[in-house]
C-alpha cells in the first residue's frame, strides 16, 4: 500500500530522474542493482532518497540485491525508448494465447455471450500487446546492431562476431520466423485467418453488441497486418543484411587476425597465392653484339700504368729565405722579378711549380728594396702544374734610404 500522493511520486521521479536512469541502465545490463552500486549512486548525487525509493515501491529488495519494480521499469523503458529485446520464446507466448483465444471463440461462438465478449476483448488486447512487443523488439535490435556495427563499445572483434552471431541466431532469425509473412505457420498467417473469420462475423453475427466487438477486433487486425508487414520488411531488408554485413566484416578481420597471429606473414609455405613479381626482362638486346665488343675493348685499350713511388730519391726544395734574399740583393737592379725567380730555381735543376713561385714572391716584402710597377703584364705557363698565370712585370731596385 502506497501512502504517498500520486503527484508526490511523479514529482520525486522528476526531481531524481538522472539517478533513476542510472539505476535503470544498471538493471538493464545486469538484471539487478547491487547494494554497493546503489549506495555509490546515492552518494554521487548527494541525496538521501533510499527510504522513498522503497516507500514508493520503485525499488524492491531481492536477497542482497535490488530491482526496479516492473511497472516503473516498463515506464523508464518506454520513456527512454530503451527496450531490452525479448527472447522469441517470450514473444511466442502471445502467439499461443492469440491462437488459444481464437480457437475458444470459434468453438463457443454460439454459447454464453458474456464470455464471448470477454474473449474478443482479450484477443484484441493480446494482439495489441503482441504488436507493441514486436515493434519494441525490432527497434531495440536495430539500435543494438547499429551500435555493434559502429563498435561504440570498442569491443574486440572476436566478441563482435560472437555478439552478431548471438543476435542473429537467438533473436533476429526466430523473430523473423514468427512474423514472416511467407511462412504459413507464422503469426501473420494466423492473424490473416482470424481476420477473415472476424470479417464474416462483424457482418452477420446476430447480436449487435457482439457484431460491434468483432468490428473493433477486425479494425485492429487490419492495422496489425500492416504493422507486421512493416516489421517484417525492417527485419528482412535492414536488420538481417546489417547483421550479415557485421558477420562478413568480421570474417575478414578474423582472417586477417589469423594471418597475423599464426605467422603466415613470414612463413614460406604460407597458403597465399602469390602476386606476380615484377617481370625481369631477360631477352637479348638488339645491339648486344656492339655492347659485347665494347665490353671487351675496354680491356684491350688499357695503357701501361706508371705508379708514382712516394719514396722518391729527389731532394725536396726548401725555401731558404736568407740565401735567396742575398742573391736577389746581389742581382739588383732586377728588371723582371719573375724572370729572375724562374732562372734562380732552374739554376738549381728544379722544375718550377706554382707553390715555389708564390713562396719566392715573399721576397718582395723585404725592407731594403724598391718595387716598380711597369704597368704591363706577362702571361706565364707553369707546365708542371698545368697552370697559366697572368702576372705584372716588376722592377726591383735597391732602397737607398
Amino acid at each position: 500500500m502506497i501512502k504517498a500522493e500520486p503527484k508526490t511520486i511523479l514529482s520525486f521521479i522528476h526531481q531524481h530522474f538522472d539517478l533513476l536512469k542510472e539505476l535503470f541502465l544498471a538493471q538493464s545490463k545486469n538484471n539487478s542493482i547491487d547494494y554497493e552500486f546503489l549506495n555509490n549512486e546515492i552518494e554521487k548525487y548527494g541525496v538521501e532518497i533510499k527510504t522513498q525509493l522503497f516507500e514508493y515501491h520503485i525499488l524492491k529488495n531481492i536477497n542482497d540485491e535490488y530491482q526496479i519494480t516492473d511497472v516503473y521499469y516498463n515506464l523508464f523503458e518506454f520513456i527512454l525508448q530503451q527496450f531490452k529485446p525479448l527472447l522469441p520464446e517470450e514473444i511466442e507466448k502471445y502467439v499461443q494465447s492469440i491462437t488459444n483465444l481464437f480457437i475458444k471463440i470459434k468453438e463457443d461462438i454460439n454459447k454464453d455471450k458474456n464470455i464471448l465478449i470477454e474473449r474478443i476483448d482479450s484477443l484484441t488486447s493480446e494482439i495489441d500487446k503482441f504488436l507493441s512487443q514486436i515493434k519494441n523488439n525490432t527497434s531495440s535490435l536495430l539500435v543494438k546492431s547499429r551500435d555493434l556495427k559502429a563498435n561504440i563499445d570498442n569491443i574486440d572483434y572476436q566478441e563482435k562476431i560472437h555478439k552478431a552471431s548471438f543476435w542473429i541466431d537467438y533473436y533476429i532469425i526466430p523473430l523473423n520466423n514468427i512474423i514472416d509473412i511467407h511462412n504459413s505457420e507464422s503469426i501473420y498467417n494466423i492473424l490473416l485467418n482470424i481476420s477473415e473469420y472476424t470479417n464474416e462475423k462483424r457482418l452477420n453475427f446476430q447480436d449487435e453488441n457482439i457484431r460491434l466487438k468483432f468490428e473493433r477486433l477486425y479494425n485492429r487486425l487490419k492495422q496489425a497486418l500492416i504493422d507486421i508487414r512493416q516489421q517484417s520488411e525492417i527485419l528482412v531488408n535492414e536488420l538481417i543484411p546489417l547483421i550479415e554485413r557485421i558477420k562478413t566484416e568480421n570474417s575478414i578481420l578474423k582472417g586477417m587476425h589469423h594471418y597475423l597471429s599464426k605467422g603466415l606473414w613470414y612463413k614460406k609455405d604460407s597458403p597465399q597465392k602469390e602476386l606476380l613479381q615484377k617481370f625481369r626482362d631477360n631477352v637479348f638486346s638488339n645491339d648486344f653484339e656492339l655492347s659485347t665488343k665494347e665490353y671487351f675493348e675496354q680491356f684491350q685499350l688499357e695503357e701501361e700504368v706508371f705508379i708514382n713511388d712516394d719514396n722518391h730519391s729527389f731532394e725536396e726544395w726548401v725555401f731558404d729565405k736568407h740565401k735567396y734574399k742575398e742573391r736577389m740583393i746581389e742581382a739588383l737592379p732586377i728588371q723582371n722579378f719573375f724572370e729572375w725567380t724562374i732562372n734562380e730555381i732552374k739554376s738549381e735543376n728544379i722544375d718550377l711549380n706554382t707553390n715555389q713561385y708564390f713562396t719566392m714572391v715573399s721576397l718582395l716584402f723585404e725592407k731594403d728594396i724598391n718595387i716598380e710597377y711597369q704597368n704591363k703584364y706577362e702571361k706565364i705557363i707553369i707546365e708542371k702544374d698545368n697552370t697559366e698565370l697572368k702576372i705584372p712585370v716588376l722592377k726591383i731596385t735597391k732602397d737607398e734610404n
Binding site: 556495427k149 559502429a150 563498435n151 561504440i152 570498442n154 572483434y157 562478413t248 566484416e249 570474417s251 575478414i252 578481420l253 578474423k254 582472417g255 586477417m256 587476425h257 589469423h258 594471418y259 597475423l260 603466415l264 606473414w265 613470414y266 614460406k268 609455405d269 604460407s270 597458403p271 597465399q272 597465392k273 602469390e274 602476386l275 606476380l276 613479381q277 615484377k278 617481370f279
Partner: protein, 186 residues
C-alpha cells in the same frame, strides 16, 4: 601465319608482367574483359609464362607459384594491421578502405599506436618505420595500382579487395579443416 592481337596487347602484357593490377574502368581492362579476348589472355599467360590470369569484375591481375615472393605478404600484413586498427577506432574498415582518403600521418598514427601488432611491425622491415611505410605505399603499392595518389593523400583502388578476399578464404579454409576432423568425445 599472321596472328591478330587484341588492341593494346603490348600494354596489357607489359602491365601485367610488371605485376600491376589492371583496373576497371580503363581501356586495358576493356580489352581483357571483352568476351572474345578473355579466354585468349587466360591461355596466353598460362601457356607463355605459366601464370594464372584472374579476371574479376573490378580488376585483373596475374598470380604465380613463386613462393619466394614477399611483396604480397608485405601488402597483406600492411592492410591487415590497418584494417584492425580502423576497426578498433570504431569505424567500418571495409567502407574506409573502399572510399576514405589516407595520408602518411594517419597511417603512421595507426601503426605507432598498434599495441596488438607491435612485434610484427617491428620485425617486418617493409612496415617498421615511417620511411619504409612511405616506400611500401608510394613505390610498391602505387606502381602496382593498389593505391592512387591524390596530392598529399592517397586512396585504395578496388585492387585492395584481393587482400580482403584472401582473408575470407583463409577463414573458410580453416573452418573446412576444422569440420573435416572427427569430433572427439571427451
Amino acid at each position: 601465319m599472321k596472328i591478330e592481337y587484341p588492341k593494346y596487347h603490348y600494354d596489357v602484357v607489359k602491365s601485367l608482367l610488371d605485376g600491376k593490377f589492371i583496373l576497371f574502368p580503363g581501356k586495358l581492362y576493356k580489352t581483357i574483359s571483352e568476351a572474345e579476348n578473355k579466354e585468349f589472355y587466360i591461355d596466353f599467360f598460362q601457356e607463355s609464362f605459366g601464370y594464372e590470369l584472374i579476371v574479376e569484375t573490378e580488376y585483373v591481375y596475374l598470380i604465380s607459384e613463386n613462393t619466394d615472393e614477399k611483396t604480397s605478404r608485405d601488402i597483406m600484413t600492411f592492410i591487415s594491421i590497418l584494417s584492425y586498427e580502423i576497426d578498433k577506432e570504431g569505424k567500418n574498415f571495409i567502407e574506409e578502405l573502399n572510399s576514405s582518403f589516407f595520408n602518411l600521418e594517419r597511417i603512421n598514427l595507426y601503426f605507432e599506436n598498434s599495441h596488438s601488432w607491435n612485434e610484427i611491425i617491428t620485425e617486418n622491415k617493409q612496415i617498421s618505420s615511417p620511411e619504409s611505410r612511405k616506400s611500401l605505399i608510394y613505390n610498391t603499392m602505387l606502381k602496382r595500382n593498389i593505391i592512387e595518389k591524390m596530392g598529399d593523400n592517397f586512396q585504395f583502388t578496388k585492387a585492395h579487395k584481393v587482400f580482403l578476399n584472401f582473408a575470407l578464404e583463409l577463414i573458410e579454409k580453416e573452418s573446412e579443416e576444422e569440420s573435416t576432423y572427427p569430433q572427439q568425445s571427451v
